[in-house]
Symmetry: C2
Subunit: 149 residues, 2 copies
């Protein structure tokens, strides 16, 4: 008998395990927050610090610190923005690209392993149910945002 609370507990457990798994497999010089920034660069290409702040939902000051660290460990470089001399384009270095490519492969492998052996209609239904849960969570979070203006 699966109760809603058991489902909820499992979701929390899975959340913690995913973060744990990520944190443990990070190469030298990377942390979860820095990796999150690299991930955005990997998906979007060279990006200004303002955009990174928005994407990560974090203050511009915080991005300065993260980029400082990532520059020191040679995962990214700051380049001048061609059209706006105030702005910086944060860019993955070659080493950064290699790291993120490897991470994407790992991620794909892990994802496949997690659901290996599930029939395709079952996978379909799981995807559907998770969509539902995510949408409702989103509504819960938004409701609270409105309450505290």
């Amino acid at each position: 008998m699966a109760t809603p609370e058991q489902i909820f507990d499992r979701l929390i457990e899975i959340a913690l395990l995913i973060e744990d798994d990520l944190a443990r497999s990070l190469p030298d010089g990377l942390t979860v927050a820095r990796t999150h920034l690299l991930w955005v660069l990997h998906q979007s290409g060279p990006t200004t610090q303002q955009s990174l702040a928005t994407a990560l939902q974090v203050s511009p000051r915080n991005v300065t610190g993260l980029v400082d660290a990532l520059e020191a460990s040679r995962f990214v470089e700051r380049r001048p923005h061609p059209g706006d001399r105030r702005a910086t384009l944060v860019t993955l270095t070659e080493s950064g690209v290699r790291t993120m490519d490897a991470m994407e492969r790992d991620r794909r492998d892990s994802a496949a392993e997690l659901v290996a052996g599930l029939e395709s209609d079952r996978l379909e239904q799981l995807g559907h149910d998770l969509d539902l849960v995510a949408a409702r969570l989103q509504k819960l979070v938004e409701a609270q945002i409105r309450v505290v203006p």
Copy 2:
């Protein structure tokens, strides 16, 4: 068509939303880390700081800091351990108990809302699939622990 990666993405999204939802609904003086400690006390009753460190997978020094903050905001009290004068029993205050009771109700309501309307056999299957995913994640994490001794 739900691919393994889409499932994985959804799980990460859900993880972030759950943490967000929790963080936003915390009363004054509480943070996610402090709430985690309170949750353990709520489940287990009065507990030594060593046990808390183990339960939270965190250093004893860190527990000292969390308990200091929770004592200052009157959610917990330090009491002498009856049988061991080295140890402290961290105990929920009345206010701490009320807070955690309310949080447990909220949690139950949220959980029910997330899966409301799902047929019971579908709920069953979702629970089953999440169990499977959690177990495989656990294995992934353990595998990495062994590799780095």
